[in-house]
Subunit: 491 residues, 2 copies
C-alpha cells in the first residue's frame, strides 16, 4: 500500500485549508453528541513513521472535543508486566466506552513491525499476529465499534530531515528515540514490513487510510475528512446486523446433559484420602507451571446449587495463594457494560505462570444474556464464534484453557434449595432469582447443550462434572485439572 | 519490638491446636457475612522474614473463605510504571472494597526496609515514609477500614535453615530470591530497620502483631485469633466516630468569594494575541517538566456554567496530547463508591512528567457530598485535613499541585443558563440538576469559602479565576499555570 501510494494534496490556498479545517472540526465536535446518542465507541488508531507528526495530528483532532468524550493513549514498548500478557491485551484494555473516542498514538502495527525487524517474532508468528489483529478488529466492529485507522506517510528524506532538526535543538533532542533512528537506518526493511502489515490488516470492517503527512495542515484536513465521514457512515449503518460466522474449529463431540449419568457414589472416608493425594499432586504441578510460565484459565459454570463454590475451594486450597486468583463474575458494572462484553474477562486474565479461576464466565453471553434478553439474538448467535476466537487466542499465547460444567439434576437442585432455605447460615445463598431461574430449567438446558456442543474445542475443552455427589465431583474436577496440566507440560 | 519480643506458644497438643484452628476458621468464615453486612473492608498485611511462611499463612487463613469475599495480592518490587508513581500508590490501588478482605503478601514495610538497606532512601526520606504510612493507615481507619498487621517472626538460624532446605531441593530452589539471601547476610541491619519501622508505625489505629512463626500451626492459630478478634472489635466499635483533626498547615490567606472582583474586561483581539503567546510559552514548559519528570496535578472546580470546559480546552490545546490527560469527574461508580473516597483520584494520578487535569475533583467531598448529604457531617469535616494530607503527599512525591475555582456571579450564571436553554446545540449542557443546584447558591458559597480558606496550602494553593469575562479567565488560568511551573522549575 505504501509502494503504490500516490501523493494526494488539496489544491487550495492556506486560508482555504484553514477555513475547511475549522469547519470539519466543528463537524467533529457536533458528532460528539451523535456518537453519544448512538452509543457508538470510536477507536482511532494513528500509526505512521517516526516524526510524521502523530502527536500534532492528535492535538489537531481533539482541539474542539470535550474532555468528557475522549482519551488519548500513547503506547510505548510493553513493560515487564505487559509482556506477561497476550499481545493484544493492552490494546483491549484501551478500547473506548460506548459513545466515546479513544485516540491511540501508535499501536499494534508499530509494535508488530518493531518486533519483526528486531527478530523477536518470526514469519509464522507474524502471520498469527495479523490474524489476531483482524479478529480483534472484526469483533470490535461486530460489537458496535467504529475502528478508524490512519497511517501518516512521509518520504525517507523528509523523515531524516525532521529527525535531524529535532536533534539539533537542545529542547527537542530528547524526543528523538533510538527506535526513530533505527527506522531511518533500516527504512527499507521497515517499508517492507509496514507494507505487508498494512495489506494484511486492510479489511472491509477496518480499512487503512494512508495520509500524506508532509504538509501538516493538509494532513490534518485529510484526517478530519476521513474521521467525520466514517462516523457518519457508522451512524447511518448501525442498524445493519453483523454477519454470524460459523468458523470451523476442531470440535470435540460432547454428550447432551440428559445423557450424563449422575448416580456416582463416593464415601466420605475414601474422598478424604483421595482428596489429600490429589491436592498434593496439584501443589507440585502448580510449582511447575509457575516455573514454566504457563498461564492457566479455568472457567466454572453450572446449575445454581450444583456446588461450584465448594468445588473451587477444594481446588484452591491446594494452591499457593500467591499464584492464583478466583474471579467471581456478577452482572457487569456500568464501565464494563459500556465496553465489548469480553473486555472484563480480558482484564482479569492471569499473568504467565498464574492461574485464574472464573466463577461464572464469558459464557454468560450464551446463557443468561441469551435467555433474559440482555443481548440481541444476533449478539448471542455471534458469540459462539467470538468465544472460540477468544479462547484460541489464549491458547496461542500459551495458556491452558479449560471449562467445567458442574452438573446436577432438577430434583437435586430442589433438595439443595430447600436445605438452604431451612438452614439459617445458608439462607444468604438462596435468592428469589434462583427460584425464578429454576423455572426456566428447560430453556437453560437447551442453551447449555448448544453452548457445550459449539464451544468444546480441542484447545479449550468442556468437562461435564456430575455433581449429585459432591465428593465425586470435587475429585473429578481436581483430577481433570491435574490431567490437563500434565498434558500441557508434555507438549 | 523484635528485640524485646518473647516467644509465646500455646501449651497444647497438636490435636488441640488442630481443633482450635478449625473452630477459629469457622468463626472467620461466619464473619464474612458480618463484615458484608457492616460494609467493613478488612485489609490484612502479612509481613515477616523471608521463608517465615507468609504464603502458607495466607493459604491457611483463606481456606474456608468464599472467593467472592477476598483477594490475595502479592507485592513484588515496584515495576517501571509503578516507580513513576508515589510510594503508596500501589498500596492504595490494593485496598479492599467495602465488606471484603484483601490479604497483602508483603507490603510497605518490606519495601521500605529494602529501600533503606540498599541505600535507595536516606534517613530523612525514611522518616517521611513512616509519616506517610501512618497517615495512610489512619485515613483508612477513619474511613471505616480495618487494617490488621502481622509480622511473622523467626530467629536467624531458623531462617537460614529453611532457606538452605529450599535451595537443596530441585523443585523449590527457584523460590529463594536474592533478596531472601540478602536478609540472611545482613540480618542485623534488617533487624535494626524492621525494629525501627515497626515502632514507628505501631499505632492505636493499626497496631502491629508479632507472630511467632517457628511452628506453622501455632502461627496460624495466633493469626486467626488476632484476625477474628480485631474484626469482632471493629464491628462492635463501628459507631464510634473518628476524631476530626485540625492539623497545622502553612495556609495562604484567601479572600471570600464575595470579595472577588468580577468586572474585568478583555477585548477579543487582545485575547487572541495574548492566548497564542501564552500557549507558546506553556508548550515549551510542558517539554521541560517532561524532561525533569515533574508530575503536575491541576484541579478545576467552579460554578456551573462558569466556563471550566472552555478554560481547560485553551490550556490543553497548548499541550502535547501524549503528555496530559483530562479526567472528567462524575458521581462515583459502584466499585469506586465501595472504596475510600480518595481512591479514584489516586488511581488517576499522572505519571512523573505528565499532567493530569481534573474537571471537578476530590473537593466534591466538601461541596456536593456535604450539601446533598452523600456523606456524614463527620466525614466532610474530617476531609479538610485528609485532603491537605493527600496533597502534601503529592507534593512530597515531587508533584506540582494547583487548584482553580472558576468564579462567576449569580446573574452571569442565569444569563448563561438561559442562553444554553435557548440554543439548540447547547441544550445538552443544561439539566434540571443545574437549576436545582442554583437554588442552593448561598449554601454552596459558604461551603466554597470554607473549603478555600482551609485547604489553600503553600504546596497546593487555590487560585480564584474571575470568569464573568471568559477571555480574561482563560488567560489568567494559563498564566497561573505558567507561573507555577516556572516557580517549580526554579526549586
Amino acid at each position: 500500500m505504501l509502494k503504490n501510494y500516490e501523493i494526494r494534496r488539496y489544491q487550495m490556498t492556506q486560508e482555504e485549508i484553514r477555513a475547511l479545517v475549522k469547519e470539519k472540526r466543528e463537524e467533529l465536535a457536533g458528532q460528539q453528541m451523535v456518537i453519544k446518542e448512538h452509543k457508538l465507541p470510536v477507536f482511532v488508531l494513528i500509526e505512521g513513521w517516526g516524526a510524521a507528526g502523530k502527536g500534532t495530528m492528535i492535538g489537531g483532532l481533539i482541539k474542539d472535543l470535550d474532555p468528557r468524550f475522549f482519551r488519548v493513549i500513547t503506547m510505548k514498548s510493553p513493560g515487564t508486566e505487559e509482556k506477561r500478557m497476550p499481545f493484544l491485551w493492552r490494546y483491549m484494555e484501551a478500547i473506548p466506552e460506548a459513545g466515546k473516542f479513544v485516540f491511540l498514538n501508535s499501536g499494534w502495527l508499530r509494535e508488530t513491525a518493531d518486533d519483526f525487524v528486531c527478530g523477536r517474532i518470526d514469519d509464522a508468528a507474524l502471520e498469527q499476529r495479523f490474524r489476531q489483529i483482524r479478529t480483534f478488529e472484526r469483533q470490535l466492529k461486530d460489537n458496535g465499534y467504529l475502528v478508524v485507522k490512519l497511517f501518516l506517510q512521509i518520504p525517507p528524506k523528509e523523515q531524516k530531515h525532521r529527525l535531524d532538526k529535532l536533534k539539533e535543538e537542545k529542547h527537542t533532542r530528547w524526543r528523538v528515540s533510538e527506535k526513530d533512528m533505527q527506522q531511518v537506518k533500516k527504512r527499507e526493511k521497515y517499508e517492507a514490513i509496514y507494507d505487508r502489515a498494512l495489506e494484511a490488516t486492510n479489511t472491509g470492517y477496518a480499512p487503512w487510510n494512508i495520509v500524506d503527512a508532509v504538509e501538516k495542515k493538509q494532513a490534518l484536513l485529510q484526517a478530519l475528512h476521513i474521521l467525520t465521514n466514517q462516523i457518519h457512515q457508522a451512524v447511518e449503518n448501525y442498524k445493519i446486523l453483523p454477519e454470524i460466522l460459523h468458523r470451523d474449529y476442531p470440535l470435540i463431540k460432547m454428550p447432551k446433559l440428559a445423557q450424563v449419568s449422575l448416580d456416582q457414589e463416593m464415601a466420605k472416608e475414601e474422598y478424604e484420602i483421595r482428596l489429600k493425594e490429589l491436592q498434593r499432586t496439584l501443589k507440585g504441578l502448580h510449582n511447575k507451571i509457575y516455573q514454566k510460565k504457563i498461564p492457566v484459565v479455568i472457567a466454572y459454570e453450572g446449575w445454581d446449587a450444583a456446588g461450584k463454590g465448594g468445588n473451587i475451594r477444594r481446588l484452591t486450597s491446594a494452591l499457593d495463594p500467591r499464584g492464583f486468583e478466583v474471579h467471581p463474575i456478577a452482572s457487569p458494572e456500568p464501565h464494563e457494560k459500556a465496553r465489548h462484553y469480553l473486555w472484563r474477562f480480558y482484564h482479569r486474565l492471569p499473568k504467565e505462570g498464574h492461574i485464574a479461576i472464573f466463577d461464572r464466565s464469558w459464557y454468560g453471553r450464551v446463557m443468561v444474556e441469551r435467555l433474559e434478553g440482555f443481548c440481541s439474538e444476533n449478539d448471542w448467535k455471534r458469540a459462539y464464534n467470538e468465544i472460540n476466537e477468544f479462547e484460541r487466542e489464549l491458547s496461542e499465547w500459551g495458556a491452558l484453557v479449560l471449562k467445567f460444567w458442574v452438573h446436577i439434576d432438577k430434583d437435586m437442585q430442589l433438595a439443595r434449595f430447600t436445605d438452604r432455605q431451612n438452614t439459617p447460615e445458608k439462607q444468604w445463598k438462596i435468592t428469589e432469582e434462583d427460584w425464578r431461574n429454576r423455572e426456566k430449567w428447560d430453556a437453560y438446558e437447551e442453551a447449555v447443550d448448544e453452548m457445550i456442543a459449539r464451544t468444546s474445542t480441542e484447545n479449550a475443552p468442556w468437562f461435564i462434572i456430575p455433581s449429585n455427589n459432591k465428593y465425586y465431583a470435587r475429585l473429578l474436577a481436581i483430577q481433570t485439572v491435574i490431567d490437563q496440566i500434565e498434558r500441557r507440560l508434555r507438549r
